[in-house]
């Protein structure tokens, strides 16, 4: 059993943490494109209903002073945004009619 990285109240999401706690958009986009719809659906179904509580938990701390568990939770919600595109509109990992276009995020505010 690996050590928990998310706050205790979010232990149900722990199975997704290793895959989806990612620091940058580049990593999240790559993970999305490398995932199956079944994997994306499973993460979304588990994570989406918890977004409101996750916001509540993270916002107990200042953004630039998040403890590790809240930081991981914030990363997980970042990934839910990425995955929501596939689950809510495309029903496939890549953008419909995006052909082979690429657009790399090369700078972003962190955490």
């Amino acid at each position: 059993m690996t050590e928990a990285v998310l706050p205790a109240d979010f232990s149900d999401l722990e199975p997704f943490a290793a895959t989806w706690c990612l620091a940058t958009e580049a990593e999240r986009y790559a993970r999305r494109m490398a995932s199956t719809m079944a994997e994306l659906e499973a993460f979304y179904q588990a994570g989406f209903p918890r977004i409101g509580e996750a916001l509540g938990y993270c916002d107990k701390f200042p953004l630039d002073g998040l403890p590790d568990d809240a930081h991981h939770l914030l990363q997980l919600v970042h990934s839910l945004i990425m995955v929501a595109m596939c689950v809510e509109i495309w029903h496939q990992p890549n953008v419909i009619d995006g052909a082979d276009a690429v657009l790399d995020r090369v700078a972003e505010p962190l955490p």
């Binding site: 914030l74 945004i81 990425m82 929501a84 276009a101 657009l103 700078a107 505010p109």
Partner: protein, 421 residues
């Protein structure tokens, strides 16, 4: 049935009779000789945006730009006097590229007290002055004052840094009234930046074309919206609120998504959960300067205003969203059929995870749209290059494209006429 009034001339295009209404010749996007002319007639003598002042926070902060369209690399640096200067990135001793990190072809950034050449250690201060020659006694009376870095005209408008290799007028004269009417927008508050880059296999003007008309939006992007909403949008088609040409620049003003939406079922679940979407976070940042907006923004003062897109000639787009953020596009040609595209999205810094995620959703959504906008470019380029067809009918909602291609043609003609004299 039109939803928004057009000028008395009957159309936006005819309101500017110099544009004509004839089909537009796209040979300008495939002809290598024409591209070479664009480089000298346009890019070498226009004010070009190379970044923002926030990238140079301190004395000695610098960044380099690799600009194939100018056949040069530039160093942009902030001096001890607070002034931002631009120099060709070439050492005066024997021409080594002065500033680079791991690879000379890649852009770099940092902070330094002076620039030291990697080759023989000649040094230049932040104003470009040559301050040190290694083994100076071996030279034959080199006057250091004559061997400073080659400076390029550089000026700042509202925090945007511009350079110009051969300026004929000042930056503010060049940007004109359209820009004047934007002054005062709280750019300085919006310092949280998301940057995107792509190498695109098309002429630079084709991506501007793709962003400068919204005629495509209800069609190309219709799968982005929830189904009922998408059908409604295709039915409406697209009409802008207002167009304005202030040659060589131009702008389009558009209605746009209410944030928050009137009916929450109009938007995707993730948008409801995070109170954000393509148009930006629903909750506006608590800063001064957004109400009232400067006069060039939402010029028709429409209550259903959503976004304005300004095309500053030749390759800089400045786009404002009603919920209080903005973005920029820069299109840097590298060949007749290639360019580097850069997009920057600017927000007031998030104070909480909730605000950060609202910005992330807007930014991720932007990319989903931009991937669709970018998908057609390489295919279009290859078909234009076939030259099976070269003239294309542009409609009234494509007036900014008509204007761009005309200004490009006019500037190239002016240049070749002058050269022939």
């Amino acid at each position: 049935m039109p939803h928004f009034a057009k000028p008395p001339a009957g159309s936006w295009t005819q309101h500017y009779p110099e544009l004509g209404t004839a089909p537009v010749d796209y040979t300008d996007s495939v002809d290598p000789a024409f591209y070479e002319l664009e480089k000298v007639a346009i890019f070498r003598r226009s004010w070009l945006n190379v970044g923002r002042v926030e990238k140079l926070p301190r004395t000695g902060s610098y960044f380099t730009r690799e600009l194939a369209v100018l056949d040069t690399s530039l160093i942009i640096v902030k001096g001890a006097d607070g002034k931002i200067r631009a120099f060709h990135n070439v050492c005066r001793h024997r021409g080594n590229k002065l500033v680079w990190n791991d690879f000379p072809g890649e852009e770099s950034a940092g902070v330094c007290r002076q620039f030291t050449c990697k080759y023989h250690a000649w040094r230049y201060d932040l104003t470009g002055k040559l301050t040190f020659i290694q083994q100076e006694g071996e030279f034959f009376g080199v006057d250091k004052d004559q061997y400073g870095l080659k400076e390029v005209a550089c000026d700042v408008w509202e925090g945007f840094i511009f350079i110009n290799l051969e300026p004929a007028e000042s930056l503010t004269e060049y940007l004109g009234d359209l820009a004047k009417g934007i002054e005062g927008y709280p750019f300085h508050e919006m310092t949280s930046v998301y940057t995107y880059r792509a190498e695109v296999g098309s002429n630079w003007k084709l991506f501007i074309d793709a962003f400068a008309e919204f005629y495509h939006a209800p069609v190309l992007h219709h799968k982005q919206a929830v189904k009922n909403e998408a059908e409604k949008l295709v039915g409406y088609g697209f009409e802008a609120l207002h167009y304005e040409l202030s040659s060589p620049h131009s702008m389009v003003s558009s209605w746009g998504g209410m944030a928050p939406p009137k009916d929450p079922s109009m938007v995707k679940p993730i948008e409801r959960a995070l109170r954000s979407g393509l148009f930006g976070p629903w909750d506006r940042p608590a800063i001064e300067g957004l109400d009232p907006l400067p006069p060039s923004i939402n010029p028709s003062r429409s209550p259903s205003w959503g976004t304005d897109s300004f095309e500053f000639f030749p390759n800089f787009t400045l786009l404002f969203w009603a919920p209080g953020w903005y973005l920029t596009y820069n299109y840097w040609p590298t060949a007749v059929d290639r360019h580097l595209f850069e997009a920057n999205l600017y927000f007031v810094p998030a104070r909480s995870a909730r605000e950060r995620l609202a910005q992330e959703l807007a930014t991720v959504t932007f990319k989903e749209y931009a991937l669709q906008d970018g998908n057609t470019l390489e295919a279009t380029q290859s078909m234009l290059a076939s030259r099976v067809v070269s003239e294309f009918p542009l409609n009234d909602q494509e007036i900014l494209l008509r204007h761009l291609h005309k200004v490009v043609a006019d500037r190239v003609k002016e240049y070749t006429d002058a050269a022939a004299r």
